[in-house]
């Protein structure tokens, strides 16, 4: 299966051990958004592997607000995706808490690369996301077969995931964000030591 439309990604490796306070979160998010908008990147990869402490407020500013667009606006005008990497056990509570409070979800990878969906998602959609994450890239009919559901139901599950920017569509196939990021043009690497 060919990859028709390589996305450009912005990788934000957050080298700050303490990712705390709203001001810090805003500064980090502003940096990522600025880069994405300047370079036309479509996938923001937030790498938390070096972050020792992330609090709820900062998780809300960096992850939740980046997922939902900027400062309360919907992201409908710009198709943008967020992938969080380097998730450790102690990141889960703040990041999930911030997402759930807004009814959001984000595609993520644990520190060892295991895919994990954080936030609020219906169980059927979660099952579809997990199967897609395991496949990387797959057509709807193939995913329906693997899930044991009819193609129509599978299509609507994927449409829901796509609407929430939890998967990407590329031609006649759907991709997990981890897969998209792995084949993407890395147009920008931004590192952040923002301190508000």
């Amino acid at each position: 299966m060919s990859h028709e439309n390589s996305p450009a990604i912005a990788v934000a490796s957050l080298y700050q051990p303490n990712l705390v306070t709203r001001q810090t979160g805003r500064a980090v998010r502003d940096g990522i958004e600025r880069l994405m908008s300047e370079r036309g990147d479509t996938i923001a990869v937030i790498d938390l592997r070096d972050v020792a402490v992330i609090d709820f407020s900062c998780a809300d500013e960096v992850v939740a607000k980046l997922v939902m667009g900027s400062d309360g606006e919907t992201a409908d005008s710009v198709p943008r995706f967020v992938l969080v990497r380097g998730i450790r056990e102690h990141h889960l509570d703040p990041v999930e808490g911030a997402l759930r409070r807004r009814g959001l979800a984000v595609s993520a990878e644990r520190i060892g690369g295991e895919p994990v969906l954080l936030g609020e998602v219906e169980p059927e959609a979660l099952a579809a996301w997990r199967m897609l994450a395991a496949c990387g890239r797959v057509r709807t009919d193939e995913l329906a077969r693997r899930l044991g559901v009819d193609p129509g139901s599978c299509d609507s599950l994927l449409a829901g995931l796509l609407r929430r920017r939890l998967v990407r569509r590329d031609g006649d196939a759907f991709e997990s964000l981890a897969f998209s990021a792995s084949v993407a043009r890395r147009s920008s690497d931004c590192t952040s030591r923002a301190n508000g």
């Binding site: 705390v20 402490v53 992330i54 609090d55 407020s57 607000k65 309360g72 509570d93 807004r102």
Partner: protein, 300 residues
């Protein structure tokens, strides 16, 4: 001539209430300096310690003059005040002669008194406690390893409460000690205070209309702690206190938040603190007390 406020001999959360009541009973004449007589203080908790600073700040605000303070006679209390860096913070509140503040001793505190004025101070506090909290939480209080980071998150959120909601400066400190009388175990006590707008003022603009005349400090505390309401309409706000509450419950700890004339508390089985107090002496801002008990062998 200065009017004298007697600081209670035991300056813990109850002593702080006495101090607030005394302060409230004095006429707040502008230009009339107050003297805090702490000579007879023989025991002080972290909450009482920054409570003294908060009371000093309120009297400063009321009279327009920095109050004076008589240092405790008790050697142990003096030493504790030095170690907790009380005098460095007190210099900004009280009228203390330059050079009269004792030098700091070696501190065994988890966190000495640290002013919170901006988010940079929150970063400083989180950085400061990282190594120490590993030694204290894991080794002395026998908490599991992840609790060190969870404590940092809680500390960050509770300090941000000052920056985001108080519109005034505040202080934080944390110390372990033996809570023999009540619990027979060591505890970690974390105290955070400000003398800003308080919960009633902070949430009032957004929520008071809905509650009408019944709106009060107690209702504001319930709205914030129990229902996660915030002064902001943004649904992402207000989760800091909720997170603190969940964490304290998980650790079987005690959380008390005083604001205005009320105090709300999450009370574990080992304590008999009232869950809600109304009609306390009015005091500005918010005063937060968190007590985390050492884990018993069964809990480890």
């Amino acid at each position: 001539m200065s009017r004298v406020i007697q600081v209670p001999e035991v300056l813990d959360h109850k002593g702080f209430e006495e101090l607030v009541a005394t302060l409230g009973g004095l006429p707040g004449d502008a230009g009339s300096r107050l003297l805090f007589n702490a000579k007879h203080v023989r025991w002080v908790s972290p909450y009482g310690l920054i409570g003294l600073l908060a009371a000093g700040q309120v009297s400063h605000d009321r009279t327009g003059l920095p109050p004076r303070i008589e240092a405790p006679d008790n050697r142990e209390v003096r030493s504790y005040l030095d170690r907790m860096e009380f005098w460095a913070a007190a210099h900004e509140v009280f009228d203390i002669e330059p050079g009269s503040a004792p030098s700091h001793g070696t501190s065994d505190a988890l966190l000495e008194i640290t002013p919170i004025r901006s988010h940079h101070d929150v970063h400083t506090v989180v950085e400061k406690v990282r190594e120490r909290s590993a030694a204290i939480l894991e080794k002395r209080l026998h908490y599991p390893k992840p609790s060190v980071i969870q404590f940092s998150v809680m500390l960050s959120e509770v300090c941000q409460n000052i920056i985001e909601h108080a519109d005034a400066d505040g202080w934080v400190c944390a110390q372990t000690y033996n809570y023999r009388e009540r619990l027979g175990r060591e505890v970690l006590m974390l105290a955070v205070m400000d003398v800003g707008m308080g919960f009633e003022g902070s949430l009032g603009a957004e929520h008071a209309r809905r509650y009408g005349e019944s709106w009060s400090a107690a209702m504001a505390l319930e709205a914030a702690l129990l229902y996660g309401e915030s002064r902001f309409r943004d649904p992402g706000r207000g989760q800091g206190l909720q997170a603190i509450r969940r964490q304290v419950e998980k650790w079987d700890g005690m959380l008390a938040i005083r604001s205005g004339d009320a105090q709300i508390a999450l009370v574990p089985d080992w304590d008999d603190y009232p869950s809600m107090q109304r009609g306390l002496a009015t005091f500005p801002g918010a005063q937060i007390l968190i007590v985390m008990p050492a884990r018993t062998e069964e809990e480890r």
